[in-house]
Each structure stands twice: as structure tokens, then as C-alpha cells.
Amino acid sequence: MKRSTLFPYLIWMVLFIVVPMFLVLYYAFTVPTESGATWSLENFARFFEPIYLKVLWRSLRLALFSTVICLIIGYPAAMVMAGNAFERKSVVLLLFVVPMWMNFLLRTYAWLTILERNGVINVLLANLNLPSLNILYTEGAVVLGMVYNFLPFMVLPIYSVLSKIDRGVVEAAGDLGANSLQVFAKVIFPLSLPGVVSGVTMVFMPALTTFVISRLLGGGQFTLIGNLIEQQFLVVGDWGFGSSISVVMIVLILLSMAIMSFFEGEEKDVALW
């Protein structure tokens, strides 16, 4: 077959993927001067100012926290769905995924209604004569929003790996005298590790870089890396600094890709996760 069908895409790819990436790199590694721009690592150095380290630390902490919660909730869920607790597995899987097809902003917005001072939770509490809670615009709300939005990213990769495990392997382990806890610890969990690694990456990265969840549910008081990038481009206009943060993000992604391919082995179809 002809390979010439590639050409439109190649041009598009260079124009809209490769060139923009180089522009980001260019802005990240230069600082403007009167006569144009000079190469410099200044933008990266700024990252180490206490105020930005605090943002970085908060982002990492919240993203990590969300990832752990997603793993704790998601792994058992994936296991149950991959097992035989339900007759119609595909329907269960679909039901699990349907909410994710709803607009991401609307999903996040929904929690406003539930969490706000006059929201559903507080009305319920008031009806029970309990004191109202201030959940919205706290770190807790941000983490909740992350878990809600990214849980499927954790469950689906684990599910897909678990459902591919040969029943024979599990039976063999039982046959060889392992009890169900040992079967899990020595067979199922190690085999599901590639899924866990994908899931963790798929939750951690967007959680680290989101700016919508923190803006809507954190009320703008909790600046995360994503918010920082957004501000640099849309408010402050400091493209250099914004680009340098982006470059750090890309490096993180490349690292996690390397780790993933280490776990999954090469030439897999599922490079998406």
C-alpha cells in the first residue's frame, strides 16, 4: 500500500505538534532582552523561589493524595468488575464509564451544588439538626473533585489487566496450596502491576496539572501547577516562566512513559495507558 497517504498528516504534525513544542522549549530557555532574547536557565531557576516551591509541593501533595485514594477505591472495584460477581460484565463496565462522557466541567460543577454552604449536604445536615460543614473551597473539596473525575482512569487499566489474567493461573496457585490471600499477594497483584502503574500515571498526571478543579472547587485559593501555568499565560503574560513549568511537566510525562514501557514491555497496542 502507498505510504503517500501520510503526507497531509506529516505536514499537520510538524506544524501543530512539533513546531509548537519547539516554541515552548524556546520560550522556556530564553529570557527577553532589549535586543531580542538570550539563552538562559533563569526561568527554571525561578521555579525554586519559595512561593513556587510551595505551589509545587501543594500540587504534588494533592495529586498524590488523590492518586492513593483512587487506588484504594479503584483496585477493589476493578477486581470485583473483572470477577464474576455480575452476570453482564459489559453493562457494569459501561455504567461505570457513562458519567465520564458527561462534560468534565459539568461534572465538576455538580459538586458545587452539593458542597456549597446552602447545598445538598448542608441542607440534609440542617434537617438532622447538625451543624453545617464548610467543605467547598477547601483542599478536601479539590481532592474530592480529583477523585471523582479521575477514578475511572485508575479502574479501567487495572480492570483490563485483571480481566486478561488466565483463570488457570489462579487455579494453579490454589492447586499448589496457596490460600486466597496468598493467591492475591503472590499471583494476582504482581500480574496486575502494569495496570496499577498505568492507572497511577493516568490519575497522577492530570491531577497534577489540572487548573479547573482547583479553580472551581478550591475557589481560587489553592494555586496548583496548572493554575500557575494558566496565570503566566493569561494573566501575567510571562510566557518564559509558563513555558519552563510546561517543560518540567513534559519531562515528568516522558519519565512516566519510560517507567510504563519498562513495566509493559515494548510494542504494545495499549501505549495510551
Binding site: V24, I73, V80, F86, W101, Y109, I253
Partner: protein, 279 residues
Amino acid sequence: MVRFLKRSYIYLVFAFLYMPIAVLMVYSFNDSRSRGMWGGFTLRWYVELFQDRTIMSSLYSTLFIGVTSAVIATIIGTLAAIGIHNSRGIQKKLIMNVTYLPVLNPEIVTAISLMILFVFTKVRLGYLTLLLSHITFNIPYVILSVLPKLRQLNKHLYEAALDLGCTPAGALWKVIIPEIMPGIITGLLLAFTLSIDDFVISFFTTGSGVSTLSITIYSMARRGINPKINALSTIMFTFVLLLLIIVNIRQAREQRKGRNGKNGQKRQMDALRTGFGGV
């Protein structure tokens, strides 16, 4: 007993996932100003929604960009997938890695890189930049939907067409494209869905007052609760639900025909998992 516990756990997770949506839907019919209270049934938010010119014009933009970018991305992406399928070695690896970039990069990075490109080349931010950006992030998903179909094909199919008298272009058009059509349609639907769902990239690459639904929702939500958004959510969720049901019936029918078997299931998973784009 264990089975019961397992099921209950899943139902609990489902409750967590569906509760916010259910709340939105119920409140879209609530006549009370105070959101926590139930003030009786009303359709007035729906009426106001359709009278809101900002929302209606952004709905129009969303659909226009969605359809146009999906169609263009599908054409470029399908041709690209065929080309990639037939390339080898380093060339193939390089193209695939660059293709994965927009998929794996945090959306905000893709967004600012495109914004820099447009501002740098002095293209006015607006409809055109929005469209170009959407096509860009849609193409990889089309490629990733079509490639597995191509891999499934008997590798002699193209030669069989030539053998029976087709020219290379004829073989592509009469045999290869029809054979991978299910993948192309999946890619098209996926691209359309991703496009209407996108917020981050649109947010950075739009301008001149052009707003998509996501952007409008964001600016409204930033100002707090708005019952019109509830009404909009209800409509959009119902629409997505219908779309999903149609896609699934289609796929189920196809599977019954025995065309895909396990691969169909896998492809469905691919489509689903690539589906939640907008973060």
C-alpha cells in the same frame, strides 16, 4: 454473601459517580431560589436556557467546531493510519511517538503550545484557531481507532484487490476503506465527543468573543451556581446517553455478525478509555 458484598461495593461506587449528576438533573426542575430546598416542579430554567443568547451561540460554536473538526480529523487521521500501518522501522516509531504526544501531554501543555504558535504567527485567535486546535488533538484519537482495524486485516487484502484488477487507489477506496469503516466511524464519534467535551485547549486558543459551551459553563460556574447550567447538564447528559446507547447497539450488532469477536470488545474499551478527554 461475598458476592453480595462485592456487588454492594460496586453499587456504592456507582452511587458516588451518579449522585452529582442526579442532583443536577433533579435541581434543574427545582423552582426554589435557595438551592438546598425543593420549591416545586418547574421548566422555567429550560425556557431561560433557550432564551440565553450567550449559551445558544456557544452551543452553535461547539457543534460547528465539533462536526467540522471531527470530519477533517477523520479524513487526515484515516489516511495517516493507513500510511503509518505501511511504514516500518524508525520512521514508524518516530511518527507514532509524536502522535502520542498530544494524547500523553497534559492538556494544558498542548493548549499553551498551540496558543504560543498562533500568537507567534500572528493568527487572530477565534474560530479558525479553535478549529485548527481541535483538529490537532482529534487526529491522534482517529489514528488510534483506525490502526487496530488495519492490523486486524488480512495482510493480503490489498494485494487481492490489485490481483482482481483494482488500481492502487481503487484498492484503497473499494476494499481497505470499507474494511476499516467500523474503526473510522468509532474515530469520528470519538473525535466529535472529545471536541464538544474539550475545555482546556479551547480556553487557551479562542478569542474575539468566540466561546464554546465548555468555556461558557466555566465562566458561569466561576460566578457560582446557576440553575440554567443544571438544565443544560440534563440535556447534555441525556444526549450523551442516547449517543452511547446507539454506539453500543451498533457494536453489539456488529459483534453478533462475528466480525470482531474479542477485538470488538477491546476496541470498545479503547474507545471508552480514550473517551474522557476533557481534563
